[in-house]
């Protein structure tokens, strides 16, 4: 449990603004209470990723207990890494290798129950081994 601080925040990094926002809506519905911030699309709203959007999302999601970044594919990973490199030492945000939807759901449910950063990361990573049915 976190003490005296807010919940661990979740940032969803996608090439698509609609995908990031839709996934965040879905995850909030399931996880209730968790902070889930979308960071999708290029700066002009087209497909792509935006370091500025990712950095702003990390700030929005940070309640003092850490932030987990879940990327969708490829350059979402690279953009997230470059933001984390720029913020080195100024953020507890961590990039997690997890499936986008299942990882976000598992991470947000864990975060919503007050789990700490390592536990939220573990929940997201475990989602890779979870069968869909």
């Amino acid at each position: 449990m976190t003490e005296g601080l807010g919940l661990v925040g979740i940032v969803l990094v996608s090439h698509s603004e609609a995908l990031a926002e839709g996934a965040a809506d879905l995850v909030r519905q399931i996880a209730g209470g968790a902070t889930v911030v979308p960071a999708g699309g290029a700066p002009d709203g087209g497909l792509g990723t935006s370091p500025d959007k990712i950095e702003a999302a990390i700030e929005d999601a940070d309640a003092g207990s850490g932030v987990v970044l879940i990327p969708d594919l490829g350059s979402a990973v690279l953009s997230a890494r470059s933001v984390l490199a720029d913020l080195a030492g100024e953020t507890t945000a961590q990039l997690v290798d997890a499936p986008f939807v299942e990882g976000a759901v598992a991470a947000a449910v864990a975060a919503g129950t007050g789990a700490d950063l390592p536990a939220v990361i573990a929940a997201a990573e475990e989602a890779r081994d979870a069968a869909k049915f």
Binding site: Q29, A31, G32, V105, V109, T113, A131, K132, F133
Partner: protein, 96 residues
């Protein structure tokens, strides 16, 4: 808390009035998160899941009419089992 509470066990058997989809699975996981000392186990036919694992609960694929046995072990088992049964039997139109 008396030491015997660690051994509390409560069981509820419910018939789902709705599929066990994402939202109730999330509510069960939240319930499990609020009662970290208790273990909430779900069984439906040959499928089993710990309520803490939201993805595992969804993967049970339990549909309307499925009989689900909820077994809670640990402190406050009776109350937690009641809450779990309420989540499983709550009427809900949306399937998210």
């Amino acid at each position: 808390m008396p030491p015997s509470s660690e051994d509390d066990v409560a069981e509820r058997v419910v018939v789902l009035p709705k599929p066990l989809h994402a939202r109730p699975a999330g509510q069960l996981a939240q319930l499990a998160g609020r009662h970290k000392e208790a273990t909430i186990q779900l069984v439906a036919g040959e499928k089993k899941a710990n309520a803490r694992g939201v993805l595992a609960v969804m993967a049970m694929g339990a549909v309307t009419g499925t009989e689900v046995t909820v077994t809670v072990t640990g402190p406050g088992a009776e109350a937690v089992a009641d809450e779990a049964a309420d989540i499983l039997t709550a009427a809900e139109a949306a399937d998210a």
